[in-house]
């Protein structure tokens, strides 16, 4: 993990002129670590141990963690269990709609290496090939205590400014996109334009563009405004 960070050079951000910037950074980091809205995408079995962790017995809200409903509002994406290819597409869409800083937690062994479904033709095995993962909570399935311990570890990481996978996604987009394309086909495209976002927020890295993004840009259509029609056309069957 540590050498990976050095390669990426996450900390090479320009110094800001504002003398209070440092104080603000500290404050936001402090608050970020104490207020985490999570989107628990029930991709698999692990979702069954989240309600106990959230409800009266283990009560995640003590730690400032609460469930949210839509990706726009969420900070953490909990991928709870094996990821079928069909779900993986939705996870990527969900992840890209969240606003940064955002964190991904892979729960259950299946997100690490496919778990007991390693033989299965339908599930993707390694989550971190397609999305940057901040934290894995292994187990089949991890107990609520383990989930909470994992979230605590993530909180520590956020407070110490170590959880920066979302930057990795922008800066190494080519790598992630390549893996996604290998699974979903070369014409894979999401509604979110990561390249434009990276440019806009100044997160372009050395590896943001590459041969996979070139492939994407060749067929990418910019996201147009939704039409306002009187009737929805029938779907081609």
């Amino acid at each position: 993990m540590s050498n990976e960070r050095e390669v990426i050079g996450i900390h090479a951000e320009a110094k800001r002129g504002n003398p209070l910037a440092h104080v603000f950074d500290e404050l936001t980091r402090f608050c970020r670590a104490r207020s985490l809205f999570m989107l628990h995408y029930c991709t698999g079995c692990g979702a069954i141990e989240l309600p106990p962790a959230m409800t009266s017995r283990f009560d995640m809200e003590r730690l400032g963690i609460q469930p949210m409903v839509t990706p726009r509002q969420a900070d953490i994406l909990l991928v709870t269990g094996y990821v079928s290819v069909k779900t993986l597409k939705r996870i990527i869409l969900t992840y890209e709609q969240m606003s940064a800083p955002k964190y991904v937690i892979g729960i259950c062994s299946c997100t690490v290496n496919g778990g007991m479904y390693w033989q299965s033709y339908a599930t993707a095995k390694v989550l971190k090939a397609y999305l940057p993962v901040d934290m894995y909570i292994a187990g089949c399935m991890p107990r609520p205590e383990a989930v909470i311990a994992g979230l605590r570890a993530l909180i520590d990481d956020i407070e110490a400014d170590r959880a920066e996978s979302w930057k990795r996604y922008y800066q190494h987009y080519d790598h992630y996109l390549g893996n996604q394309q290998s699974l979903f086909g070369d014409d894979w495209q999401t509604p979110t334009d990561i390249l434009a976002e990276a440019e806009h927020y100044g997160l372009l890295g050395e590896h943001t563009r590459g041969k996979h993004t070139a492939l994407l840009e060749r067929h990418q259509r910019p996201l147009e405004a939704l039409e306002m029609r009187l009737r929805v056309p029938e779907e081609p069957e």
Binding site: T28, S35, S56, E61, V69, T70, R72, Q73, A74, P101
Partner: protein
Amino acid sequence: MNLFLELLLMPLVAFLVGLLMVLMLRRIGAKLQRRVGPPFFQPLYDVVKLYAKRTQVSHGPIHDMGIVMAVGGYIAAETLLPVPGMDGLADKGGVIALAYMMMIPSLGLALGVGQCANPNGSIGISRALTAMLAYDVPFMLVIFGAAWVYGSTDLSEMIAQQQQGEWGVARMPLLALAGLLTLPALMGKQPFEIYVAPAEIATGPMVEMGGKFLGGLFVMQAFQLYTAGALYTTLFLGGGEHWLSFLPKIFLVVAIPMMIAYLFPRYRAEDMLRVMWKWPVLAALLGLAMVMK
């Protein structure tokens, strides 16, 4: 105290008290649900975190405007609500202007959410406007009755009358009851939480709101709770002589709807209309008849 300072301080105080009320809401829920609940500064952490998001997804200028209207409407409302030691614009606006100001946030939200082009959001906002329609009828009747009894629409005048004579709740008990029945709807809590409804429309108006937009809505919620509590206190519970008596009163007023909020599911939209237009309106009309006899 000079007016400019008051205009700055009143929303700020409202915001901080409102955050405390949000905390109280969550703590009450936690106690009823047999758990610990969030830490003391949790609402503040949430707001700061949301405003500190690095990427902010906006859906165009109207979207931004909507949130500004939502929060701005309440900030304007706070300056019209007299609190101990500060009158702000209360003598210039009065309760009618305040009631108008309390509608602006919903309209602003409607504008902003409409821009998101998310059907969940649109359904949510149409429900929010329905809810407003539902509670505004008894709410207006209550305000009208109070203004009739005090012979003035000036909130500071009302407070002065109550502090010299008896409280509004004694002079017009039925109107006070109608106001209390309207409060849960005004605060958008169960059983009238029709426009948030996560399991139905994925939190309705908030569905496309992230980062500072959601932060804005959190701030708005704090203002909303505070305004509801403070207005009710001003109308019926004698306002506040000083902060030590004012704060317990508004917290008590807000706590009552919260206590029942966690024990009920939500109504359907038309059921909310039915309920709101039946019992609170009935109580308010009877109360009006009594005070006007």
